[in-house]
Assembly symmetry: C2
Homo-oligomer: 389 residues x 2
């Protein structure tokens, strides 16, 4: 088995577990910082470790375009190329093709698209995205899928989910006849689609699990659907996916979203929210999100989050952070990113500990109340799950 997953504690549907990969162990629930182009923006690899990251995400679409899969393969894989020596999950690039590139055609064979960088034409097939991920050497590879938008016509969602199933089968077959390129095992995860239609989700989950993968992702969410649909779909998938394998909710979300999804059996997350919002001056704190640009922080000598042990909070005042953002200094991006990821990864560790102690339900309740306490940013409570880029 390329990855070994075991659930070590449970509280109702919430689970704490251990995911062992060729590049190290991941304690779940786990949040994966998004390292789109082989770097989590504005953060050094040693700072990722410092923030508590145990696994990061890389992006097949971006890395295929730049620097190119062969260059990464020649360097000995993405871990060696980037000097992040821990586990890496790569997504299949499907999401970026549909959201970022100029999409040309979806065909049975795969997708034809134009690069968002230079307009050049490229094609991805289920086989080629696995081949690229073999070259990248990620610990966990994702199948090629179509991520449907929201809202999505039922008929389109049905046909799309069926195509995703056929692509998933081809990914698996290609992987079985090829295998890893570098000296370590790589896991392959399937993706459940079906938009917000319960019967389509059920059909997709049954077909994808029938193919058999090392883990399962729930895709097609965090694309603008109401938060109730997000939670309902996760809850439904929780009952349909094998209990003894890892479940990964793609592209989600806010701290609240994560807490609710953990409560519904999710083990793994990725989202650009903590990193992208950091670069916009929004800091997640234990008392809710704040916008460090706000004039109220002009002379505030307190750290962004007094309970946070990260370097940013140990070292700097809100007033200094505000100055850095107003003056558009790069250091603001660095410090805010380090803090936000430290916060997200603390939230995951704390969730894990609460599950282990059998106190998750009450911890979640308390934390949710706390996380919406801050009034600096009234709109922040409405910052819902946003999507990866």
């Amino acid at each position: 088995m390329p990855v070994n997953f075991s659930v070590t504690s449970r509280e109702k549907r919430a689970r704490a577990g251990l995911l062992a990969t060729a590049h190290g162990k991941v304690e779940t629930p786990a949040f994966m910082p998004v390292g789109t182009q082989g770097t989590v923006k504005a953060l050094e690899q040693r700072e990722l470790e410092e923030a508590g990251a145990q696994i990061i995400l890389g992006n097949t679409y971006h890395l295929y375009l730049r620097p190119g899969a062969d260059i990464v393969a020649g360097a000995g894989g993405l871990q060696k190329f980037t000097a992040w020596n821990g586990p890496i999950l790569t997504d299949s690039g499907g999401y970026q093709i549909f959201s970022l590139s100029e999409l040309r055609r979806i065909e049975e064979s795969g997708v034809v698209f134009r690069s968002h960088l230079d307009g050049s034409e490229h094609a991805f097939s289920p086989e080629s995205v696995i081949d690229i991920q073999r070259k990248l050497g990620s610990d966990i590879m994702m199948v090629l899928d179509e991520c449907t938008p929201y809202p999505c016509e039922r008929e389109y969602a049905r046909k799309s989910a069926e195509l995703t199933t056929r692509w998933a089968r081809r990914c698996k077959e290609f992987w079985e006849t090829s295998g890893p390129l570098h000296g370590w095992g790589q896991a392959l995860f399937g993706i459940v689609q079906g938009s917000v239609y319960p019967d389509l989700r059920e059909q997709s989950a049954r077909e994808i699990t029938a193919i058999g993968f090392d883990g399962y992702a729930i895709g097609g969410l965090a694309v603008g659907e109401p938060v109730e649909s997000l939670y309902a779909t996760v809850e439904q998938c929780d009952a349909l996916l094998p209990d003894d394998q890892p479940r990964y909710l793609m592209g989600v979300g806010t701290p609240e979203n994560l807490l609710e999804a953990i409560d519904r059996g999710i083990d793994m997350f990725d989202c650009v929210l903590p990193t992208r919002n950091a670069r916009n001056g929004m800091l997640f704190t234990r008392r809710g999100p704040i916008n460090v640009r706000n004039a109220q922080y002009k002379t505030d000598s307190a750290p962004p989050d007094p309970d946070c042990p990260c370097y940013t909070c140990r070292t700097h005042s809100l007033a200094y952070l505000r100055h850095l953002f107003v003056a558009r200094e790069i250091l603001g991006f660095q410090l805010a990113t380090l803090h936000n990821l430290s916060f997200y990864l603390w939230l995951m560790r704390s969730s894990r500990e609460a599950i282990q102690a059998g106190e998750y339900a009450q911890w979640k309740r308390r934390m949710r109340a706390q996380l919406t306490q801050n009034t600096d940013l009234p709109a922040a409570r409405d910052v819902r799950h946003i999507t990866t880029a």
Copy 2:
């Protein structure tokens, strides 16, 4: 005495010394990383220490505009505001007024200028720039001067240097009647002007030293003059300035410039070259400067400078750095800045050790040959001293 300077070793005109300030000791020759807006761009304060910085430079013009001197004063000074707890030198803002803002009028009383940020009108006088630097609480303050451009008419240079002298006298007088605002001593340095005219330099040096300051800067260089004029002017000033006080060559320069200036009795430097060029992908190495964007590094697994012990060189390959720059990733700025400053500060430490060992002349010869060895960037040898911003 607000600063205590002692020359501890000499080799001909080259000197190794110790400058004690309220916020710590500085070993000379010293290079001061430029922290224009209260941050050395793209570098955390702990990384400045890691790179070996013992003193950094802040900018009166920029900090006056943003966040404002009163905010910094309220935070307890620039050291507390930025959490850089070591020594800080602030320049007077004169250079920025003449180079960056829309200059309105130079008058006997001072200068009237428009902010480069929003066009608002402001005035600096010799007294007000000292008052701002009192609020900033820098360990070393600089007098207001006019930095003449190159080339500069003799008559203009003469009048300008005389104005600089009168302003210097007023700075000193204001400082004597005001004194420090925070709980520590601040030193005040005078600035010698006179463009490239030896008799004007001599006159300026005699007048400025007659007023009496805690240290002396040579200004008005690194503005485009031939490198021979730079060295000749430094050599001349070396003979004119008090031997037992620190000498600071403003805005200089390349590694070669620094080595030659040390050989002519300079103790302190500042320059944006290592940090600004880092953000353009130019790395200084022990074998000469390289441009990490070059295609030749596409698959190069070697570190930028194999002999450099900095985090960047210990951790990353040229191929990865090239990727970061091509993909315009912030991490490229961070890693390149950390390396370049580590290199500059290593160069200063090594110069100091060579002086202490009485081997500076031969070390400088060997180092100069080595620093121009690299052929990746033929133009790099011509990268001369450039000016602070």
